[in-house]
């Protein structure tokens, strides 16, 4: 009988991934960033090792790149990285990813499938309490899962419902065990119990709070909500009864409180850290390569403690809306791909920091190929294709790129525009705030949008993003590709690792052929901290599995601590 580890460890880092769902995303990236391979090592942080034993107490002030104005009624939420970081601090998920690409139980004690992966028994930890004192029971967890799949009265799950579409039933077996059955074999189901950190378990009271669900957060996580003032701060204080302990058996978390501050202006985050107003913030190479570069120098100078990682990387991309001209035409999609001079863009915008992507799957993850067949940077060929497109369709090659108004992104988009116009296309730019951008993507009210997404978890988690748009509202590109759908179906129902690898590699090639998405770079995520703050990475999951070293989905805050 299999117990907690769901996937066997793989020989190298980076393995499977999960994703999430829902909405997502963040935005960001740009069309053009890309890379050349000068990435720095990832993961750990030597400063932490020298710092000695963790000390208790203190408030951590941490800047987020955006406010989550929709709040945290998780089944209905639209969490991007900033929202996920907060959610992971207040809530626990049933499983968590590990450093070897698998998923292990977290708030669950065990997650056990039957032989053909159509039935999952989720056994919960006993004695865990929510922040309101109510106990964690199978009933609450079942209700949460039902809410996520759109089957709980009073809660409407628009997007996650599709993610959990293969769940057939949920049932309370005993006070601490929930049984989930699925309509077909689903070997990667545990990855979905994490879903990029978006499916935390909420207390019954929050689940049933019709009006205040998004604001009155009640979880089991290391910190409980103290106060949320929109646009200013969200403070969470230590959960004195938290169920986790550190390696030495001491209670977690170490900090007294965490104060999140939304700061959309990147320069403001940097300024605030430098002037001591912040203990840390997060930033990705997609828009912040130059800042990461600066932080590396400060890290060297021991003024900053920088944690960075390109493990389990997400990818920057330009999404193309395939439901309308010009990108309903494969010629047009190939033309934009070839027109983008990615190496040059990476050099200009990011001093070469980052790694040019050739597909959604980063090196080390399932489905990654050294050569996926994805091509870019052939302006001459792009010009030919543009002419061919215009001749064949009689339409001008025109489109609009929709971008977040932050200066970093606008610069990227403007550079892309330059490349595209060199190839003979006519390009306009419009700006829209992050959350509105996501809505545009869902409605297909765009032609090209800059995004970052697909953090490398289990590749099956991309099902929701790419499955037949006719049945899937979150296929932002709007394509209905039978081959992609067939491969996604096969991947979901296949358990054999070798066979899965083959399936997702084929998927990778198909995506490269079709150019629904233009890949820019796999992102580095970095968390620059005050030199005396530690513990972003390195904490092991409860079962002692290797720690998950990616930062694209936020990070655990229970192990963070400050030198006094």
């Amino acid at each position: 009988m299999r117990r907690t580890r769901i996937y066997p460890a793989r020989g190298h880092t980076g393995g499977r991934r999960v994703i999430g769902l829902v909405v997502l995303g963040l935005l960001a990236s740009a069309c053009v960033t890309v890379s050349s391979g000068s990435t720095q090592p990832s993961g750990g942080d030597d400063d932490d090792a020298d710092a000695g034993a963790p000390q208790r107490g203190g408030t951590l002030t941490y800047a987020l790149e955006a406010e989550t104005t929709n709040g945290w009624c998780l089944p209905e939420g639209q969490l991007a990285i900033s929202g996920i970081q907060v959610a992971r601090t207040i809530y626990d998920t049933l499983t968590v990813p590990t450093g070897d690409g698998g998923f292990v139980p977290f708030l669950a004690e065990a997650v056990t499938p039957n032989d053909d992966y159509t039935r999952w028994d989720i056994r919960l930890r006993s004695g865990v309490e929510f922040h309101d004192g109510s106990p964690l029971t199978a009933e609450v967890v079942k209700n949460n899962l039902d809410a996520y799949r759109g089957q709980y009265p009073g809660r409407s799950s628009l997007l996650l419902a599709f993610v959990f579409g293969d769940v057939a039933t949920t049932e309370v077996v005993d006070p601490l065990t929930v049984r989930v059955t699925t309509t077909r074999p689903w070997s990667s189901f545990p990855a979905f119990l994490f879903s990029s950190g978006r499916v935390g378990i909420m207390a019954q009271a929050q689940l049933d709070d019709a009006e205040g669900c998004a604001r009155n957060l009640i979880g089991t996580g290391p910190f409980r909500l103290d106060e949320w003032r929109v646009n200013d701060h969200l403070t969470a204080v230590r959960n004195e009864d938290y169920w986790r302990t550190d390696a030495a058996g001491q209670p977690l978390p170490y900090l007294d409180a965490v104060e999140f501050r939304p700061m959309p202006e990147q320069q403001q985050r940097v300024n605030a850290l430098k002037s001591g107003l912040l203990d840390g913030f997060h930033i990705s190479s997609n828009t912040g390569a130059l800042t990461i570069d600066e932080m590396r120098a400060l890290d060297e100078a021991e003024q900053v403690n920088l944690a960075e990682s390109d493990d389990f990387a997400e990818v920057g991309l330009l999404m193309l809306n395939t439901t309308q001209p010009p990108f309903d035409n494969p010629l047009a999609r190939e033309a934009v791909a070839l027109a983008a001079e990615r190496e040059l863009a990476l050099e200009i915008l990011a001093k070469g920091i980052g790694t040019l992507a050739n597909g959604p799957f980063a090196p080390g993850s399932v489905g990654y190929l050294e050569d996926s067949g994805y091509r870019s940077s052939d302006p001459a060929r792009a010009r030919e294709l543009v002419e061919q497109y215009e001749a064949e369709t009689g339409l001008p090659f025109e489109f609009q790129i929709t971008s977040d108004p932050t200066p970093e992104l606008l610069q990227q988009v403007q550079l892309s525009k330059e490349f595209f116009e060199d190839a003979g296309m006519k390009v306009t730019i419009t700006t829209l705030e992050q959350s509105a951008l996501i809505q545009k993507a869902i409605e297909k009210g765009y032609q090209a949008i800059t995004f970052r997404n697909y953090p490398a978890l289990d590749p099956d988690t991309n099902y929701v993003w790419w499955y037949d748009a006719a049945r899937n509202p979150v296929n932002f590109m709007g394509f209905s590709d039978p081959e992609v759908s067939a491969l996604l179906d096969q991947g979901r129902t296949t358990a054999d690792p070798a066979e899965r690898a083959r399936i997702y590699e084929e998927l990778n090639r198909e995506l490269a052929r079709e150019h629904y998405m233009l890949w820019t770079s796999w992102t580095i995520w970095a968390v620059p901290l005050d030199d005396r703050v530690h513990g972003v990475v390195g904490a092991r999951p409860p079962d002692g599995s290797p720690d998950y070293t990616g930062l694209a989905l936020g990070h655990d805050m229970a192990h963070m601590w400050k030198e006094r």
Binding site: T69, G71, G212, E265, N271, K274, S275
Partner: protein, 326 residues
């Protein structure tokens, strides 16, 4: 008698302006191209729930009603403090809550800026009028003139970076409530307040100077001087007083400028005031919230100016009589 009539007239004017201003902002939403409901509820699928949701919103905003009815309904809600809701994917997020949090923050910022501007401008203006033509006067005047030409966003970016980060003298962003930590509150407000105050300093100073240069020529000043009253006393007691009313009026009118400036300054310094809320409402296409914020600011501005006007009318008999004659 005339005073009462004058005030009555002004009050009627006030009501009229308030009516028109709120009418304008209440109809802002109707000006959004396309169906406002689609903009407010950006859900494209046509499932029954979504359609029902949209209908409910249409109902709530009275979008099917004729304009007068819509305005009446909006005004009724507005007066009762019901400002509608942000569009959110779950739960209620009343615009009124945000207003209650953000407005005091913006008011603080504006009051600080105004006070700061006056504290700096009044002595400088008085002194340069007194020393008209001297090097000091010229230097002060030139500085003021230059200050007028620096856009507030340039000043804000510069102060945050060079004073806040490079020099490290003051925190470059963020807000701390006074009740949490008064010292920290003041420190955080200095750079934004200075940014907002800079242009006002120049305006007030130049205004006061030119006003006082004239006053100082007047007979009653000359007489006071000839009586041997000290220059100090003449300057501050006799000469400043008539000019202070003018200053007050201009300061009142300048509230509109301050509000506009606060939008920029709050965004630049991460201050969770109404400016930030407005910018966010615009980016998120939250027009219901935008309407409310614009209406509140306009009303605020109208009331401040009304108060200043009334004060002016009551305090300065010359104005009163001049107006009565007209």
């Amino acid at each position: 008698m005339t005073l009462t009539r004058e005030l009555g007239k002004r009050f009627l004017g006030l009501i009229l302006v308030l009516f028109l201003v709120t009418l304008f902002t209440a109809l802002l939403l109707s000006m959004v191209p396309g169906d406002p409901v689609d903009t407010l509820l950006p859900l494209s699928d046509s499932s029954p729930e979504v359609v029902a949701q949209k209908e409910a919103l249409r109902e709530e905003l009275n979008l099917d009603e004729p304009l007068p009815a819509r305005y009446a309904a909006w005004l009724g809600d507005f007066v009762r403090g019901d400002f509608g809701n942000y569009y959110r994917t779950s739960g209620a997020d009343p615009v009124g809550d945000r207003l209650a949090e953000a407005l005091p923050v913006s008011l603080q910022l504006m009051v600080y800026a105004q006070v700061l501007a006056l504290l700096i401008a009044v002595p400088l203006g008085v002194l340069s009028a007194y020393r008209a033509g001297t090097l000091f006067d010229k230097a002060a005047n030139t500085t003021a003139f230059a200050l007028l030409a620096v856009p507030n966003f340039v000043l804000g970016l510069g102060l945050a970076y060079y004073v806040g980060v490079v020099a490290g003298w003051l925190p470059p962003s963020g807000y701390v409530p006074f009740t949490d930590n008064p010292a920290e509150h003041i420190q955080r407000m200095i750079l934004p307040a200075v940014t907002l105050a800079a242009a006002q300093i120049a305006v007030y100073m130049r205004l006061l100077r030119s006003d006082m240069v004239q006053t100082l020529q007047e007979d009653f000043i000359q007489m006071a001087r000839s009586k041997g009253i000290s220059d100090q006393r003449v300057l501050w007691r006799h000469a400043l007083r008539p000019s202070s009313l003018t200053l007050l009026t201009v300061a009142g009118h300048n509230v509109g400028t301050l509000i506009g400036g606060a939008v920029i300054v709050e965004v630049l310094f991460s201050i969770p005031g109404l400016g930030t809320a407005i910018a966010q409402a615009i980016f998120e296409r939250q027009y219901v919230a935008l309407q409310t914020f614009v209406a509140v600011l306009a009303i605020l501005y109208v009331l401040v100016n009304f108060a200043v006007d009334v004060l002016y009318t009551v305090v300065d008999p010359r104005i009163r009589h001049a107006r009565a004659r007209n």
